[in-house]
Structures are given as C-alpha cells and as structure tokens.
C-alpha cells in the first residue's frame, strides 16, 4: 500500500495535511533537502508532489526518477506563484517523444 507525500516550504504545503497527504516541510539547508527528497523517493510513496520552487533546485534528482515506474514526481505551484516548471516538464516529454514540440506551439509562438 502506497502513500502520497508533499514536499516544499511549509507555507505552500501545510494545507495538504488536512487531506491526508504526508507533509514534509523543508528547511533552508539544500543538502538536507536533497537528502530528504531522496529518502522519500525510496520510501513507499507512489506520488510525491513538490513545489515548483523546490523542484527547480532538485532538477537532476527528479530527472533520475523520470523513467522509474514509481514514484511519480509532480511539480505543483507554491505560494510564491506559478513558474511554469510543471508545463515545461510536460513539454519536455513531448519533445522527447515527437522530436519537436507540437502541443505547445500555438501558445508560445
């Protein structure tokens, strides 16, 4: 049986605790954050939601789990706003599969 986790700065994620997701607030130390993230990935989590601001600093770690069947690492916007990182990830999938971006063309010109 798997669980779902949310990782990011406390302000962005504390609400998820009420819904029954495990909340893992991060501190200021980046190496500790990376360590925590890796531990969550190896733990019994099927889905890990990560705030976009944090995802940006852990890009290489996230890329490692891209082709693994589990966990699914999903960037979500935090309180600091939407950086468009989530859509960029989708865009990258399209580019990888098709060779060029044919889904987001209409929007980005």
């Amino acid at each position: 049986m798997y669980k779902a986790a949310v990782i990011g700065d406390y302000d962005s994620i504390y609400g998820f605790a009420a819904l029954g997701l495990d909340v893992w607030p991060t501190g200021d130390d980046p190496s500790e954050t990376a360590h925590l993230f890796r531990r969550l990935c190896e733990d019994s989590y099927a889905v890990i939601y990560i705030t976009e601001a944090l995802a940006e600093t852990l890009e290489s770690e996230i890329a490692r789990y891209r082709t693994a069947p589990l966990p699914a690492i999903i960037p979500i916007p935090g309180v600091s706003g939407n950086t468009g990182l989530g859509l960029r990830h989708v865009k990258r999938s399209v580019e990888q599969a098709v060779g060029s971006d044919i889904i987001f063309n209409d929007k980005n010109g």
């Binding site: 962005s12 009420a18 819904l19 029954g20 099927a46 889905v47 069947p69 999938s93």
Partner: protein
C-alpha cells in the same frame, strides 16, 4: 561495396538473406508499435496539459485562501489545527499495459469512508477562512491524483517512444541498407566467379581438343 567485410560465400549469402528478412519484419512491427504509441501518447499528453492548467489554477486560488487563513489566525492555533490529520490517503497501484509500456494506475482509498470528512480541528478556535481553504484544496485533490497518473504515464511513454524511434531508424537507415548491399556484393561476386569458371573450362576444353586432334596444325 559493403561497408563491412563479408565473405563472398553461399553460406554467408543465405545467412544475410535470413537476416534481411528478420530485419524487415522487425522494422514493420516496430514502426507499427511506434505509430500506435504516438497516437496514444498524444491523446494522453493533451489530457495532461489540460489537467495541469486546470489544477494549477485551482491550486493557485487554494493557496490564496490559505494565505488569507494564515493571515487571520495565530500561527500556533493554525499549527495545532493541522497537527493531527484525520484523513489519510492510501494509494493502491496497478499496472496498465500500453503497447508493452507499463504505466501505473492509482486507486485511492481514504481512511474514513466520507471523503468530505477532512477537518481535523474543532471549529471553535479556527477561522472560517481555513475551512474554505481546506475545502478548496480538497476539491482539486481528485484532479491532482489523476494528474500524477497521467503525467507519469506520459513520461514513461515518451521514453519508450524515443527508444522505439531510434530502433526503427537504425533498422531503416543502417541495418537494412547495409544487409542489402552485402547481399548484392556477394551475389555479384558469386556470379563473377561462375563466369570465370565457365570461361576457364571453355579454354581448357579448347586446349585439350587442340592437343588431341592437332587442330592448330590443321588450321595452319
């Protein structure tokens, strides 16, 4: 001339012909796999994009609500309210096979049967803004979970499509032309050998006749 050295023998020719047949068959199958994967991927990725835009908008407004709730309450009270969650989400994962790509399927169960049973605090010491905020977040949870499923599927399928595309291209542009070239080279070489043997035999026959009947003297 073939790029790699091949022995111009009949055995090699048979082997290459068999290899070409397998390569052609594999190429056709892989191409079909790629096309079908691509069709399903595009369908999924469109859904992914729409879902993402929708959930990001919903999360944005939920975050605003939480900011509001946080502003209107004491931090200690807020932390206490969120300390012991009542609800718990458990995910059972299954696997769906899409053209040999195993994509995850999530079945979500909550600890209490009522999904709306999520307020982990008494209403006396918290503001109603917090209730609104939790409710707005709960509303986008199903979409969030579906998003996780779809996005992971997209990532896995994209990787598989890339792999398949490379294989198709390698077969189409390298393996098949090279094998054809080698086959052509061997066939020509064998034909040439046969002709030279024929000529040699004719020549020998001429020489033998010459010796036996002294044609040369007669002609002279």
């Amino acid at each position: 001339m073939a790029a790699t050295h091949v022995n111009p023998t009949r055995m090699e020719l048979t082997r290459l012909k068999r290899k070409l047949q397998t390569a052609l068959r594999g190429h056709k199958l892989l191409k079909d796999k790629r096309d079908e994967l691509m069709r399903q991927f595009l369908e999924l990725v469109r859904e992914n994009k729409a879902l993402r835009e929708k959930t990001e908008k919903a999360l944005h407004s939920a975050n605003q609500n939480f900011m509001l709730a946080r502003a209107g309450m004491q931090e200690e009270a807020l932390n206490t309210a969120m300390l012991a969650p009542k609800q718990e989400i458990q995910i059972e994962t299954g696997v769906r096979n899409v053209m040999s790509v195993e994509v995850p399927v999530f079945h979500v169960t909550t600890r209490t049967p009522d999904t709306n049973d999520m307020f982990s605090y008494g209403f006396a010491f918290t503001s109603s803004d917090l209730d609104d905020a939790v409710q707005s977040l709960a509303a986008c949870l199903p979409d969030l979970l579906r998003l996780a499923e779809v996005e992971k599927s997209c990532q896995l399928m994209a990787a598989e499509i890339e792999k398949t595309r490379r294989r198709v291209n390698a077969l189409e542009h390298v393996v098949i032309p090279q094998t054809q070239e080698s086959i052509k080279y061997i066939t020509m070489k064998l034909d040439e050998n046969e002709r030279s043997t024929q000529i040699r035999l004719m020549k020998v026959k001429d020489m033998m006749l010459e010796e036996a009947h002294h044609y040369k003297d007669a002609s002279l």
